[in-house]
């Protein structure tokens, strides 16, 4: 079998045109991996600078009223995913900046895609794009024409006559293709790691995710290599195999992902932004308004606090009731947000679940989704950012309201100013990506689908080898 692998490699390298294509592809892959990593490093630096500037502004405000600081607010800047240099996933479509403010939950703004013109609707050529689209195409051309050439030249028949097993022949072709694919994968990973190391970002490399990335793509490339080998053996000629495989490639990379996305959107539509915000606004109007002293909910809470402290008027309170009213408003708004955003997320989850069904029939989709999950650039990580930013907002505004209420001022005291040390003691926003096993658990169906594809195709490959041996397939 080893001999067949070496023979196949030697054939490719001896053919000048194929060797040129392979070298050009390898250089392109390395260039893309280097460029994607370089631009990720730039984004990483810009993110750090923006976050540092925001923190400097926050700490530089000086003595201020806590509620004034709640409106001054903060910004949560979305960092790129842990392996965004290898797979940028959905990042271009996501807003990168989220306003953190009292009373309101914002929408992340400044998505790259919204500012890059018409061409932003096309995918970006990152390392994952090459591994999911270009490398399979290369394997299809080499594989479909390789085994066919053996058959057309009579070398296949000769090999079998000389006592080589059919299984060994097909496995040899499979291994030759797979190893070529793995070569491209390793070139990408090593280039990416090298550029990161040169930019002092190597210590931040998440090795678990890197290993998972290599693992997922190794399995995917094995599926593609096995599929190509199976099609080459089972079809009558190299031309038929090429036609079938190219049709499957077009369907798997360009048509099916879009069709399943569109079907998921049609079956589980999301509300328009206006409708979603109008729903939240209407629900909030039914609750307390912290800025309105005549509000019925605020009035009820005021009575409770007065009873608690055993006094008649807010002036007699040793605390500032306004801060309590603000927190009352916040807590109600948080419940409304949780309810509405929860519904929205469940709907998105149903859409993604529908997409997972598409992954069952399309290994390209499985690999794409698994790759995004491992790289930390999928919906799960987007939602994790939103949840953590919202938790940060609640923590920040809660702490400010607490200072407003219990920091030493009395009700109606608008001149009160908390110290800069207090503001500096509040931690800045820091995003922690979900754990790898959570990301993979979320993509369990894709993981199973890809494994089933591999098992099924390997079984078909063995069967084809056996039939070839017994002369039931043409050679």
């Amino acid at each position: 079998m080893r001999l067949i692998v070496w023979l196949q490699w030697a054939c490719w390298l001896r053919d000048r045109r194929i060797a040129a294509v392979l070298i050009a592809s390898a250089l392109a892959v390395i260039a893309v991996a280097a460029w994607a990593t370089h631009s990720d490093v730039r984004q990483h630096k810009a993110h750090g600078e923006a976050a540092a500037l925001a923190r400097a502004q926050w700490e530089g405000r000086g003595p201020s009223h806590p509620h004034s600081m709640a409106h001054f607010g903060d910004f949560a800047f979305r960092p790129s995913g842990p392996l965004a240099n290898l797979d940028r996933g959905v990042q271009a479509r996501l807003g990168k900046v989220l306003r953190i403010e009292g009373h309101r939950q914002g929408t992340p703004l400044f998505a790259d895609a919204g500012r890059a013109g018409t061409v932003a609707r096309f995918p970006r050529p990152d390392a994952a794009f090459f591994l999911h689209s270009v490398v399979p195409l290369l394997l299809i051309f080499l594989g479909a024409l390789g085994l066919a050439a053996d058959r057309d030249s009579g070398r296949l028949r000769l090999s079998l006559v000389q006592g080589l097993g059919g299984r060994a022949v097909v496995m040899g072709h499979f291994l030759a293709l797979w190893m070529l694919g793995l070569g491209f994968l390793m070139a990408i990973v090593l280039t990416s790691w090298g550029i990161s190391a040169a930019s002092d970002l190597a210590p931040h490399t998440d090795w678990g995710r890197m290993l998972a990335f290599v693992g997922v793509h190794s399995v995917f490339l094995a599926v593609i290599s096995a599929g190509v080998a199976v099609a080459s053996v089972w079809t009558r000629s190299g031309r038929s195999a090429l036609l079938v495989l190219l049709a499957l490639w077009v369907a798997g990379t360009a048509v099916l992902p879009r069709v399943t996305s569109s079907a998921a959107t049609a079956l589980h539509p999301l509300p328009s932004r206006d409708a979603f915000q109008a729903g939240i606004k209407a629900a909030r109007e039914a609750g307390p308004d912290g800025h309105n002293p005549k509000d019925a909910f605020v009035e009820q809470r005021r009575r409770e606090v007065l009873d608690e402290y055993g006094v008649e008027t807010v002036k007699e309170l040793p605390i500032n009731f306004d801060g309590i009213a603000m927190q009352l408003d916040e807590e109600f708004a948080n419940r409304i947000w949780d309810e509405h955003h929860g519904k929205l997320e469940r709907r998105m989850a149903r859409q993604s679940q529908f997409g997972s069904w598409g992954s069952l029939v399309n290994p390209f989709q499985s690999a794409d989704r698994l790759s995004m999950a491992v790289a930390g650039t999928d919906l799960l990580h987007d939602l994790a950012f939103l949840h953590q930013a919202e938790s940060y907002r609640r923590m920040l505004v809660g702490a400010l309201n607490h200072e407003h209420a219990y920091g030493g001022s009395k009700t109606g005291d608008r001149a009160f100013k908390a110290t800069p040390a207090f503001y500096a003691s509040l931690d800045p926003f820091k995003f922690t990506a979900p754990k790898l096993h959570d990301a993979l658990r979320n993509r369990l169906s894709e993981l199973i689908a890809l494994s089933l594809w591999l098992i099924g195709l390997m079984a078909a490959l063995f069967r084809a080898g056996t039939r070839l041996e017994r002369g039931r397939l043409s050679c």
């Binding site: 925001a54 001054f72 479509r93 929408t107 959107t265 049609a266 206006d274």
Partner: protein, 486 residues
């Protein structure tokens, strides 16, 4: 060639019927196109619904304000609301600029469009802070089926499936000489076959485009323009196939050549263009609109009043003639309004800078259109549909102008120092800007690029066929003289 067209049409139609791959490809193309039309219609309906909701919200706000004006009192739980003041009339007018969907909006439903479809105009509104009207699942938004995708990516594939082999097969199987003997014109026959295949794909495109126009209730001019774009696009890909077919020695070479061209023009060049364009904005975290703008907001309220009024009267000179300007010192209310106006002016500058950024990105897309007809078609479709970055930027500019006009109205009302009444409120509503309508058209670079992509490949094909025929004639063995004995 013309005389061979009927025969070539018969031949190709029979081939499609007999060849299961061709039939399946044609049916799949039309089916996906139909799905795209259906999804486009859903998109437009969602858009219309969002506009209707915005209209209802506006009416609710106006009715509420009218009831306060009629009773002479504001809301019971907010006694500070006084509709005699411009800021509260501004708040309750609730006026929105609607962005009406164009009749062909559905054809580019998958485009990136970051503007809302209804923008609430008031003195604090920021046109760039809302995001698009859709809440999207980003994993699904990365790829969706719309007519632009069907035309730009799938129709060239259809032409490939139906037409690859024309020319290459004749040379590979050596029947080119037979054709010369039988018809005397190999070039004419092959060109006629290619024209027929192109026409089949063009008819497919035309049917889908006409259906899109009919479903969207588009006018004849818009529908015809879209049909012309669809037909022209098929024609240019027919030309590319013909250019490759003219020189291909075998079916395999022709298939590989056409596949490589499709891959380069529909996948590689657009993705490289996307990379270049996205890399330009990737490191931009909107610091100008967030951190810088916030710092400016807080600094503005600490500015000396003379600095505020100097800037204000330079921008709105008519205010200097109104009663408030004659006062010894500006009251806190007008001062707040003046500072707000200065901040809106700064916001207009930021929106202007983003508009320029958007124009730069679009100019790059137009340049990319010269390198890829798929990009040219996408730009043309978005311009016809009124969806996408250009239309979004135009709506934001329109919205910003409305905000500035509203701020001007508030300033003039405050500076007159007279309480406002119901008539002023009705006049304010009357002044609501008309719905924004995108002016569809495909002129400019995309149209010129498509024309070039049409002319050059067909010219190369004609030249290639001519040369290949001459080469074949030259290489044909000379007729041997017949020797007669006796």
């Amino acid at each position: 060639m013309l005389r061979m067209l009927p025969l070539a049409a018969q031949f190709e139609l029979r081939s499609i019927v007999r060849d299961r791959v061709g039939t399946a490809a044609l049916l799949a193309f039309l089916s996906i196109g139909t799905i795209a039309l259906f999804l486009g219609e859903r998109h437009v309906e969602g858009w219309r619904q969002a506009v209707r909701n915005a209209g209802e919200a506006q009416q609710e706000s106006i009715d509420e304000a009218r009831s306060y004006l009629a009773s002479g009192q504001g809301p019971a739980d907010r006694p500070w609301v006084d509709l005699a003041q411009p800021r509260w009339q501004d708040h309750y007018a609730g006026t929105r600029i609607h962005r009406e969907p164009g009749p062909l909006a559905g054809i580019a439903a998958g485009s990136v469009d970051s503007a809302p479809v209804a923008f609430r105009v008031n003195s604090r509104a920021d046109p760039s802070a809302g995001g698009g009207y859709r809440i999207e699942n980003p994993e699904l938004a990365m790829g969706s089926v719309d007519l632009t995708f069907v035309l730009s990516i799938l129709s060239p594939l259809l032409i490939g499936v139906l037409g690859v082999g024309i020319g290459g097969r004749e040379r590979e199987e050596r029947i080119d000489r037979l054709i010369v003997v039988q018809s005397g014109d190999l070039k004419g026959w092959l060109m006629a076959r290619l024209v027929v295949v192109t026409a089949i794909a063009a008819i497919g495109n035309a049917v889908l485009c006409a259906a899109a126009g009919w479903l969207g209730d588009a006018g004849a001019a818009e529908t015809l323009t879209l049909v012309a774009v669809g037909v022209g696009y098929a024609a240019l890909w027919g030309g590319l196939l013909a250019a490759i077919s003219a020189s291909a020695r075998s079916v395999r070479a022709e298939a590989l050549g056409y596949g490589a061209v499709w891959l380069a023009l529909c996948i590689v060049v657009p993705t490289v263009a996307a990379e270049v364009s996205l890399a330009r904005v990737q490191s931009d975290f909107g610091v100008a609109e967030t951190l810088d703008a916030r710092a400016l907001n807080y600094e503005a309220y600490e500015m000396a009043i003379d600095d505020v009024t100097t800037q204000l009267y330079a921008r709105y000179p008519e205010l200097a003639e109104l009663p408030a300007a004659k006062e010894a010192a500006l009251a806190p209310g007008p001062r707040r309004t003046a500072t707000g106006a200065i901040l809106v002016a700064a916001m207009a500058e930021r929106v202007g800078a983003r508009q320029e950024e958007s124009r730069t990105a679009q100019r790059f897309a137009e340049r990319a259109a010269w390198a890829s007809p798929a990009v040219a078609l996408t730009v043309a479709s978005e311009r016809l549909a009124g969806v996408g970055p250009e239309a979004a930027a135009a709506f934001q500019a329109h919205s910003m102008a409305a905000v500035e006009a509203r701020v001007g109205w508030i300033l003039r009302s405050v500076w007159r120092m007279e309480p406002l009444g119901p008539t002023d409120f009705e006049a304010l509503i009357e002044r609501t800007p008309a719905p924004f309508r995108w002016d569809p058209g495909v002129g400019g670079s995309p149209a010129r690029a498509m024309l070039l992509w049409f002319v050059v490949p067909w010219a190369l094909a004609v030249r290639g066929f001519h040369r290949s025929e001459r080469r074949m004639v030259r290489s044909a063995p000379a007729a041997r003289p017949v020797h007669r004995d006796g």
